[in-house]
């Protein structure tokens, strides 16, 4: 059963429309990540689901129940906020128990539930502490605990990792993913970090300017981006975009290289050719572009090279042991199957 359905959601703030008819269905137990640049409407969508904002039009269903006009507390959701929002004047026990205040459980059941959650999050011995005595990661766990204790149909996470340092973020990412595998509730997770999205999600929803750009598994959005925005947003460094022109059964790129393609397009039509840096390498037979190495970024196993070509600067991946020198002329190749084509005007993928 779908645990969350969004149908034609429109949201206006005063006269500015920020969401333009969003539709999405989330399966029970799914981990869905909303990702996009700031201002894309992902947090607004989350707040609409939570009931902290009202939709201008459209329907929100949670577990088959229309919740548009329900208060947040009646929607069977729980939310984890970016800056944790754990109450500094309460102990961890009180903070986690806060979510149960309004529940109808007996006192003993509440206590058992609280202890169960604390054990799941491995913070039983921290229950008596105040938030000021906790580390950033522990505070985040308290916030998650407060959400978990209510066993909601849908968990909402609003950029919960962005306040943590890089190492802790990686660790919490893993913890949240493990937690999801254990408790199995539906999770809607908002982030602007595409790495978080790729590593945690069952499905990724990529948003821009209030529109959904693509919904798909991490593999789908990586290997089959729907348009240039998705192609360049997912993956780091960004996909290289080169311009070419259809000529017969091939796409002509610059003056000398051609790419075989089975796309049925009229001759002379301009197209964009997308190649990920990790698919573009010096040497090889299927030469695409060439130029002079301007900068090298050694990453250990591989080295990123920035190459000035007649199409502008492109990024390619070279072997980490003997990368080309700065100033060296290189010819860059890519396997035909790793090349993406997009419409020059709309940016849509051509298939």
């Amino acid at each position: 059963m779908a645990s969350l359905v969004l149908r034609d959601i429109v949201k206006k703030f005063d006269n500015t429309e920020v969401l333009h008819g969003l539709s999405l269905s989330v399966e029970d137990g799914e981990f869905v990540v909303f990702v996009g640049p700031s201002g894309c409407g992902k947090s607004t969508t989350l707040r609409l689901i939570a009931g902290l904002e009202e939709t201008t039009s459209g329907e929100i269903e949670i577990e088959g129940r229309l919740v548009n006009h329900l208060e947040p507390k009646d929607r069977n959701i729980a939310m984890v906020f970016q800056n944790y929002a754990i109450y500094p004047h309460m102990t961890v026990r009180k903070n986690i128990g806060f979510g149960l205040r309004t529940s109808k459980l007996s006192k003993a059941d509440k206590k058992a539930r609280l202890e169960e959650v604390a054990a799941t999050l491995d913070m039983t011995e921290l229950l008596g502490r105040k938030p000021s005595q906790l580390s950033g990661g522990q505070r985040q766990r308290v916030a998650i605990g407060r959400a978990m204790v209510r066993d909601p149909a849908v968990f909402l996470f609003d950029e919960p990792l962005s306040n943590l340092d890089a190492q802790l973020r990686t660790q919490m990412r893993l913890e949240i993913k493990k937690l999801h595998q254990r408790v199995g509730n539906t999770i809607i997770f908002v982030t602007h970090d595409q790495v978080e999205a790729m590593t945690m999600a069952d499905r990724i929803v990529i948003m821009k300017d209030g529109y959904i750009q693509q919904v798909g598994t991490p593999a789908e959005v990586y290997h089959k981006p729907a348009n240039t925005f998705v192609a360049q947003f997912i993956g780091a460094p960004s996909m290289n975009m080169l311009s070419g022109e259809v000529a017969g059964g091939t796409v002509r790129l610059g003056s000398e290289s051609e790419i075989e393609t089975d796309l049925a397009l009229e001759d002379g039509r301009p197209v964009l050719i997308g190649v990920r840096p990790e698919d573009l390498y010096p040497g090889g037979a299927d030469i695409l572009v060439w130029g002079q190495v301007t900068v090298r970024e050694p990453l250990g196993p591989e080295t990123l090279i920035y190459v000035g070509t007649e199409q502008g600067e492109v990024i390619a991946k070279a072997d980490g042991r003997n990368p080309p020198e700065v100033g060296e002329q290189v010819k860059l190749s890519a396997q035909p199957e790793s090349i993406h084509f997009f419409d020059t005007i709309t940016g849509e993928a051509l298939t």
Partner: protein
């Protein structure tokens, strides 16, 4: 990281050098101490003279010596045996306590509403409240009096208290403090199923406790020492507040300074207690803010 022995020894040596005994303090330090000393004297002198005068006989009160020639406690016995003093003390206590509680509750409730809710006319209400700060009390005394007369509030607790049950200053102060409470806390509580009044009381109020303590001290002191309005609105001696009552120790012919000072000395005790109770919240608030992040 633990410092090694030699490091410790070295640092203790530099500390010793920095404050070698006998080395004359520099001019800047001397000026700083003098200024602080002068400020301290200005703060303490009136209290010292109040206590000193309360221990003097009437004939020595114009002798400005800080230590009385023949210190005695007769004035205290006299004031405390005068039944009126207790009535005034209790009047002041009741009025200052009720106004303090009322201000802490209602100023923060209105401040919270103005800060955290978006409703039409919110800005106008805020400006209207703020603009009352521009009207001096002296100008309001006559309308208040006429109002009290019309409603029959003259010479009653309610009459003394009503102008101060809520203050624009307190509302403004609380609004500003609630701005520092992140909306996430309030939204989290909303999702956790609290109603708006519960959110205010259980989540927002504890987070602004230092501000509440400061407000409580201001309001209590303000009402404890209020003079003009209680003087005007009360007629009977029994309804006097302490400052009004103490001033009645003076008449046209004679001002009994030693008695006034005795009463004043006794009346500072509750304000000291209130300050001691609430100041720890202020100090703790500062510490909490320091640890955050």
């Amino acid at each position: 990281m633990a410092a090694t022995d030699s490091e410790l020894r070295a640092s203790s040596k530099t500390l010793l050098v920095a404050r070698t005994p006998g080395k004359p303090a520099n001019l800047e330090q001397i000026v700083r101490w003098l200024l602080l000393f002068a400020g301290g004297i200005m703060m303490v002198a009136p209290i010292a003279f109040m206590i000193s005068t309360s221990l003097k006989w009437p004939h020595e009160i114009y002798n400005l010596a800080l230590i009385p020639d023949e210190p005695h406690l007769e004035n205290y016995t006299y004031v405390l045996e005068d039944g009126r003093f207790y009535a005034w003390f209790i009047n002041s206590m009741i009025i200052a306590t009720i106004t303090t509680v009322s201000n802490v509750l209602f100023d923060s409730l209105v401040g919270y509403t103005l800060c955290k809710f978006r409703f039409p006319g919110r800005y106008i209400v805020f400006i209207a409240i703020l603009s009352t700060l521009m009207i001096p009390t002296e100008m309001l005394v006559i309308p208040w009096y006429l109002m009290s007369q019309a409603f029959g509030w003259l010479d009653s607790y309610w009459g003394i208290m009503f102008p101060g049950l809520m203050t624009a200053f307190g509302t403004f102060l609380m609004k500003q403090f609630f701005e520092t409470v992140p909306d996430d806390f309030i939204e989290a509580a909303r999702i956790d199923g609290l109603n708006e009044l519960q959110i205010w009381w259980t989540v927002a109020m504890p987070l602004v406790r230092p501000a509440l303590a400061a407000l409580a001290i201001f309001v209590f002191l303000g009402n404890w020492t209020a003079f003009i309005w209680p003087l005007i609105v009360t007629n009977s001696t029994e309804m006097y507040t302490l400052p009004v009552g103490l001033s009645s120790f003076s008449d046209e012919a004679d001002v009994q300074w030693e008695l006034i000072m005795t009463g004043a000395a006794i009346s500072t005790i509750p304000t000291l207690i209130v300050f001691l109770i609430f100041q720890r919240f202020i100090i703790r608030g500062v510490v909490m803010a320091g640890l955050k992040g």
